[in-house]
């Protein structure tokens, strides 16, 4: 089965080609959507086969490379089109193809009747293809191909409703911000490649070879530079500070896209990349600290913004940013397994949440459309009380919300708690640990708050939609609800593969399968970490257990506040905003970061461009060129007057010429 790993990205590519070239002619939605879904599902089947085969192998042999052909070879540089299968990529392909298939299926229903249906599925398949390249790529460059490819698809899908200016803007913003990250990625790649090459004559960008060669890399120094560059790439792709602003805007895309790309898969690419290159990152404590801090800060910062948004998808978007922050926090504290674990569980519950919101929006849109109303179908202030209208959506949404809030035994609890614990107890960052942990915990509280705020505003209380169309609200069709249910189940039980040792022991020695599974991938990190990490404090089970309870407690607190404010006494939020209008405005306007970026980068760039064009190009450069011409012409215009037409002048010039020549020769 492993030999056929190339089939995994190949299937979606077939979908792209067929739908892309002939989709316009085919027109049959069932065929187009079915084909696209079938292709991803096929990939899923192959992925399952590969996973099963991997499970059957010895842990240390679970690395397989498949090289198709040499892609670029120039001098010492060589990059293959080749795939790498190991436990990490196996998890990723499972998530991508699994969640991907469900979302494809969902899309058939959600996108029904859209103009450019085929275009949508082409892009979606293309995205899946790129994402699979990203996770399967056997070298940095192929990963980069996927990296950019998903960025492109993100651009295309965000801008899917291209007639809306905001959609186009959002797509472009996403792409450009990603490009900023790509800039970092490339520089990082160059640094590693040339450093290893020139200093140790190891010319490679292949991950397996790099892992071997990572022995040669120093701690800190050049590695810090390279990893910081890579991390810049990750911040772009995974929407971390400072490059996170594109993600909320990306909600302009169709909701399944938000689920697939901007929640479950693409945005986690940065996390995956750090995991993939853990053996490099771990060599730079500085970078690790930067990552951890960035992650924690993002987690908190995005959560604050999420509290004040009214657009259902925007809340989820900020929630995604925040959760990604958790993952980076995990990576930064060396808890790679926890990070990847949270990546996976987040894929489940966040995909479910997005699809659920999609289901709501779908219903709202449908209803509003029916009544010819132009209310915003995504605004939570128009919703409320949908619990009875859409029971399946509500239930799945609720379990996912519980999961994200970190309430046991739902999946989010296991992963998030693991991260917080590692943040607290890791041996790398010394005193910073407490701060990181504290921030993470506060953010967990906020998460629970804004997520339940969302649930309460949407599903509970009075139905605030225009009464005219109230009766047109329906539960979505099966094609939409089935994926919801599957994802809801995963969000509920997905955490059980990674039960922390403390709890596992409690329940009769259930091992943390997830950690064991990934162990070979991160073995080098463990090894290197041992070389510099200070022994650190060893905390007992009681501390771990206490912290666990505390995190559940803050989540419960968040839920409680949300209940108080949005169910029990809904007037408090109004009074609060009335009391602190500035604060609310600042949070509502996302702390004015977009405006700040406009002010700092976008506008100066445009102004500079305009200045260089009109001021420099046209005035100076062309001015010099045309100026020379003008001077010569002007000179010509003056000089021609020497030709006065009078014989006397001519004769005089001649005579003077003679005199000057003679004088020159006599006096030289």
């Amino acid at each position: 089965m492993l030999e056929y790993v190339w089939l995994i990205p190949f299937f979606p590519l077939v979908g792209v080609i067929i739908n892309g070239l002939f989709g316009k002619k085919i027109r049959n939605e069932a065929f187009i959507g079915g084909l696209a879904t079938a292709m991803v599902a096929s990939s899923f089947v192959v992925s399952c086969g590969i996973l099963i085969q991997l499970i059957g192998m010895e842990p240390e042999q679970r690395v397989f490379q498949k090289v198709l052909f040499t892609w670029i070879q120039a001098g010492t540089f060589k990059a293959d089109i080749g795939f790498l299968v190991d436990p990490l990529s196996a998890i990723m392909i499972m998530v991508v193809t699994g969640v991907g298939s469900l979302i494809h299926l969902y899309s058939i229903g959600y996108m029904h009747g859209e103009e450019g249906f085929y275009r949508y599925f082409t892009y979606l398949n293309l995205f899946t293809f790129s994402m699979l390249l990203l996770v399967l790529g056997g070298n940095m460059l192929l990963m980069f191909v996927g990296w950019e490819g998903v960025g492109l698809c993100s651009y295309l899908l965000i801008g899917y409703y291209f007639h809306k200016k905001s959609a186009g803007d959002a797509g472009k913003k996403a792409f450009v911000m990603n490009r900023v990250g790509d800039f970092g990625f490339l520089i990082g790649l160059f640094t590693i490649f040339w450093w290893l090459g020139t200093n140790h004559n190891v010319w490679t960008i292949n991950f397996v070879e790099l892992k071997q060669a990572s022995e040669l890399l120093p701690f800190g120094g050049v590695v810090t530079f390279a990893t910081l560059c890579f991390f810049l790439g990750a911040t772009g792709k995974s929407a971390q500070i400072p490059l996170y602003t594109w993600l909320p805007d990306a909600m302009e895309g169709p909701t399944p896209v938000s689920a697939l790309i901007h929640a479950a898969t693409m945005v986690t690419a940065g996390v995956y990349m750090i995991g993939r290159m853990n053996f490099v990152f771990i060599k730079s404590p500085t970078t690790m600290l930067v990552i951890a801090c960035t992650g924690a800060a993002t987690a908190l910062f995005a959560a604050t913004i999420g509290m004040a948004q009214n657009d259902i998808k925007r809340v989820l978007a900020y929630s995604t940013v925040s959760q990604l922050g958790y993952m980076f926090l995990a990576m930064g504290v060396g808890a790679f397994t926890a990070g990847v674990f949270h990546l996976m569980t987040h894929a489940f519950f966040k995909a479910c949440l997005f699809l659920g919101s999609g289901s709501v929006i779908h219903a709202m849109h449908h209803a509003l459309h029916h009544g010819h109303l132009h209310d915003d179908p995504q605004d939570m202030r128009n919703m409320g009380g949908l619990r009875k209208k859409m029971p399946i959506t509500f239930v799945t949404f609720l379990v996912s919300t519980i999961a994200i809030s970190g309430i046991p035994p739902f999946s989010g609890f296991f992963s998030k708690d693991e991260i917080l614990w590692q943040a607290f107890s890791n041996p790398y960052h010394g005193t910073a640990n407490v701060v990181l942990w504290a921030i993470g915990t506060i953010a967990a509280c906020l998460t629970a708050f804004y997520m339940f705020r969302l649930v309460f505003m949407t599903f509970c209380g009075e139905c605030r939609i225009n009464p005219k169309v109230k009766d047109h609200l329906h539960e979505s069709p099966l094609v939409i609800t089935i994926p919801l249910m599957v994802l809801g189940l995963l969000a509920t039980f997905g955490g059980f593969i990674g039960i922390p040792k403390l709890l596992g022991d409690l329940f009769g020695g259930i091992p943390n399968r997830f950690e064991l599974w990934l162990e070979p991938v991160f073995e080098k990190s463990t090894e290197y970490a041992g070389q510099y990490a200070h022994a650190g404090t060893h905390y007992g089970h009681s501390v771990e257990g206490g912290l666990m309870l505390l995190s559940v407690g803050v989540a419960a607190l968040g839920i409680g506040i949300a209940y108080t404010l949005y169910i029990a006494s809904p007037s408090i939020p109004q009074r609060f905003t009335a009391r602190f209008p500035g604060l609310h405005q600042a949070v509502y306007n996302k702390w004015y970061v977009d405006e700040l970026y406009d002010f700092l980068f976008v506008n100066p760039c445009k102004a500079l461009g305009r200045f260089l064009w009109k001021g420099f190009d046209v005035l100076v450069v062309d001015g010099i060129v045309n100026g020379v011409a003008a001077v010569v012409r002007g000179f010509s215009g003056v000089l021609r007057y020497t030709q006065s037409g009078f014989v006397h002048n001519y004769a005089m010039t001649m005579a003077l010429g003679v005199v000057v020549i003679l004088a020159f020769y006599i006096f030289r």
Binding site: A74, G149, G159, K165, W194, L608, W613, V625
Partner: protein, 515 residues
């Protein structure tokens, strides 16, 4: 076949003579014939690829005495190596496309137009295959004339200004190069203009500096490098579509090719000396052109400035002086030819429909012209160097190469150009293709017809082929690049070892020489 290059180069000239005898009013016959001629030239050039041995030697060489007097020995010396092979192919490939693109765009003076295009092809091919410096110069000059007419006669509003600017700008550079070329000839003992003999020459550093500057000026104008680029936006904007396509795809390459073929191997020491300067100008060009492109209001001008940026990349790669950089540079020349050529074709398509190129006149075209939108998107992505397309491979290798050379920090700055290129291209794309279709005149636009799609398909295919499987392209140029690098670097070392005193005598002595 030993005379393949000659046949290829002069096939269009034969076409010109045939065209002369066709009635100027039977437009389709003229177009068809011109197309046929260029296709034949392309077919003739195909054996060059298949028959090309992957060695550094000059192949398909023909060497016939041409101007043989006591004072001067010029040869008709042609041949190709890995460096020129693909540029020749690019030329023969792009010409039929250029001619097809003008099928309906040029309705006046078709005969003259076709003649100009074919003459241009002769000049371009000749310049790429010349291994005699004098022959190269002649062909370079030959190229200018038809291009001048193409811009000046079939151009837009400001055509005369653009054409004259183009011509004189280029002339100034190439005339100074002529002086340098003659100087070089006499330095070499005045036997002939054979390029390989010049390569073997060891010149003292001062001479190298001056000669390099003269050559570099000529080529930098052609490239064009900042700050000698201002003729390009004008020329591109005013030229008719085919003119822009050829200008971008091939003519600009004459400059970068000139650096690789002549300026660098001939004057290795000076090359080393001026690398920081050239790289700085290249990087300024990348950033500067990107910023300026960003605020353009005219699509064509925007693409023109993007050309400046792209060629800045090429220059950076070439001057990195390592395999990756030069291979990337060479590849980027081809990529730029294909992508920017395609972009100009695309601009031509909408110009032909709407007779405007102002970005603000468009918007929402994607709705009306889905096929066009797809093609435009692919080409745009290729232009911004998205992986999987050709543009990426070239840019990546250039940046990789320059990062590994002495130009590390230049490379870092240039890499940030990657961001800017995305900004201006996508913004332009967005404003043209996305948004509301609110201009009533855009609401009646028709999508591409079969001919137009047919023009674009080969380009699109190449965009992907070169993006996914560039190996054959790189493999064929590798030996030649190796030789170039070895040549330049050994010479640089050799010159550093020899004290400057033991050089050829200064030419002040020659003044006293009897005639």
């Amino acid at each position: 076949m030993t005379s393949l290059l000659t046949i290829m180069t002069f096939t269009p000239l034969v076409g010109v003579f045939v065209l002369l005898f066709i009635n100027g009013r039977s437009h389709n016959a003229l177009r068809g014939l011109a197309l046929a001629v260029t296709v034949v030239a392309f077919l003739v050039s195909l054996p060059l690829v298949t028959g090309f041995q992957n060695t550094a030697d000059y192949q398909f060489v023909e060497n016939i005495p041409w101007i043989a007097t006591d004072a001067f020995q010029m040869h008709y010396f042609v041949g190709i190596d890995g460096i020129s092979l693909w540029l020749v192919m690019l030329t023969t490939f792009i010409m039929p496309i250029a001619i097809l693109s003008t099928w309906t765009a040029v309705e006046e003076k078709v005969k003259e137009y076709m003649i100009c295009l074919l003459l241009l092809e002769v000049g371009m091919l000749g310049a790429f295959v010349s291994l005699d410096l004098f022959l190269f110069y002649i062909f370079c000059g030959l190229m200018l004339i038809p291009m001048y007419f193409i811009i000046g006669i079939w151009g837009g509003k400001n055509k005369v200004y653009a054409a004259v600017k183009f011509f004189i700008y280029t002339m100034v550079g190439s005339l100074l190069m002529l002086v340098a070329l003659i100087t070089l000839y006499f330095k070499a003992g005045g036997a002939d203009f054979n390029i390989t003999r010049f390569y073997a020459l060891t010149l003292d550093p001062a001479t190298q500096t001056w000669l390099f500057l003269a050559f570099a000026l000529a080529f930098a104008i052609k490239v064009p490098m900042f700050p000698l680029h201002t003729w390009l936006p004008d020329a591109h904007t005013e030229a008719p579509t085919a003119g822009s396509v050829i200008l971008a795809a091939v003519l600009l390459k004459m400059g970068t090719y000139g650096f690789v073929r002549f300026a660098m191997p001939l004057f290795p020491q000076a090359t080393a000396q001026f690398t920081p300067l050239i790289a700085t100008l290249a990087v300024i060009g990348i950033i500067y052109a990107a910023l300026v492109a960003m605020v353009q209001e005219d699509v064509k001008k925007l693409v023109a400035y993007s050309s400046v940026a792209h060629l800045g990349f090429v220059m950076l790669g070439v001057f990195a002086m390592n395999q990756q950089g030069i291979a990337g540079g060479m590849l980027q020349m081809l990529n730029h030819g294909i992508s920017t050529g395609a972009l100009f074709l695309i601009v031509g398509f909408i110009y032909e429909r709407r007779h405007t190129r102002l970005i603000t006149d468009f918007g929402g075209l994607a709705k009306q012209m889905p096929v066009f939108a797809t093609i435009f998107m692919i080409v745009t992505l290729s232009s911004i160097g998205l992986p999987g397309t050709n543009g990426f491979v070239g840019e990546f290798l250039i940046l990789l190469g320059s990062f590994g050379s002495s130009l590390r920090w230049w490379s870092v700055i240039a890499t940030s150009g990657v961001i800017l290129s995305a900004v201006y291209m996508l913004w332009m794309f967005q404003r043209v293709m996305f948004g509301e279709l609110n201009n009533p005149r855009n609401q009646t636009l028709t999508d591409l017809n079969a001919r137009e799609i047919g023009i674009m398909v080969p380009l699109i295919v190449l965009i992907f082929v070169m993006g996914v499987y560039p190996t054959p392209f790189i493999a064929k140029m590798t030996p030649s690049i190796d030789r170039l690098i070895t040549h330049v670097q050994t010479r640089q070392l050799a010159l550093n070892a020899v004290p400057a005193a033991v050089q050829t005598p200064d030419h002040a002595d020659c003044r006293q020489c009897p005639q």
